[in-house]
Symmetry: C2
Subunit: 228 residues, 2 copies
């Protein structure tokens, strides 16, 4: 895995500078890491020749100053990414809803990281390690239990690495008082309605055993799987 | 809101036909509606002149055979969408993880809808209704309580409508037995490890009142906000 020690801070380049609502841009690498580490799925964008975008969900893992993700070697989109097509890799945490006193100031409580760039194909001795990192991010504790990948399976998988060089981080974290019009808060009608935040969280439920696994104890590591 | 009564079935056009894993394509409009109606955030893709994609999260609502979403009239990306740029509007439900006996067959349990096309700007008398539909999808029950949008707020918002014409639906719903190699299930080593599904769900937590709303009762409609 490469590490870009001198990567610019998120939001500091021409591509990543927020033109709208710049107060929501967060120039801290720790926040970028938090968003990427707390999530499992990214939405990856790619453009075809006719400027038609495609946006597809992928599982991924962060490794130092890169993100790693994988897909079928036969996939058109993965082939294009492997060939150097520009991408936008977006991870959004949805933390809740902000209920203001007007629709205009109501919003989604979110944290979003966007990574721009081109991918490097991970191959050779790094490839197995990258697959392990992705599996361990998506399924913590699982890798030592399962059958290691076969040569054929490794060949059938394309692993891509995208450096965290051009990144933009946006956090919408204000409560309604910070957004609402003062006259709405003071209004005898709208000042009386409830306003606040309704938090939202994702969590894992009770594991459901496969028919062939009935009677096999559920591994301990699964009980730690609660992300929020 | 327009209705495209003769829209092709999801996955039936050249753009939307799945080339990989076609068994995961679901040609049923009801499944498309389910995915769109159960979710709150879409990831919208757009390409710039240099084939650089941008993928941004947006709140939205489905209305008949369209999706409606809104953003700032000043946003570069919304201006480009309003001007007719091609888009890909992707909604992904993450329902859990599939733990197979190998990493290769392990996967994310997901349902994904992709809508391709160009947007129509919603203006005139339809615009307020579209804003109401979006607000009521994101914050059910809220619209009658809050201050109606001002003329200035309506002007500052661009509302876009994307028809559900070119759609692709992909559902990864198999348990591990359907995916695992028979020899892994029969293996004295790998056949003994637990395999199955760990479901995942998103839910709303306890509302947190704004400082100015302390003492105001939490509205009843908020107690219904549990999506999964």
């Amino acid at each position: 895995m490469t590490t870009s020690g001198s990567a610019p801070e998120p939001g500091s380049t021409e591509l990543t500078r927020l033109r709208r609502l710049p107060q929501k841009s967060v120039g801290e690498r720790a926040v970028l890491y938090d968003i990427l580490d707390a999530s499992l799925i990214a939405h990856v964008g790619i453009c075809d020749q006719a400027a038609q975008p495609f946006v597809l969900p992928v599982g991924y893992a962060r490794s130092a100053d890169t993100v790693l993700f994988h897909g079928s070697s036969g996939s058109r989109l993965f082939r294009a990414l492997a060939a150097g097509a520009s991408t936008c890799f977006t991870v959004t945490r949805h933390d809740g809803m902000v209920l203001a006193r007007s629709g205009f100031e109501s919003s989604i409580l979110f944290r979003c990281a966007m990574v721009f760039g081109t991918c490097r194909v991970v191959d050779g001795p790094d490839k197995l390690d990258a697959l392990r990192l992705i599996t361990e991010h998506l399924l913590p504790g699982r890798w030592p239990d399962i059958r290691p990948p076969s040569t054929k399976e490794i060949a059938a998988t394309t692993v891509l690495e995208l450096p965290l060089t051009e990144c933009s981080v946006k956090v919408g974290a204000s409560g309604p008082s910070a957004e609402d019009e003062a006259q709405d808060i003071a209004s005898p009608i709208y000042g009386r309605i409830w306003a606040g935040i309704v938090p939202m969280a994702e969590s894992f439920g009770t594991p459901v055993a496969d028919t062939h696994a009935a009677g096999i104890p559920v591994p301990d590591y699964l009980t730690d799987w609660r992300r929020d």
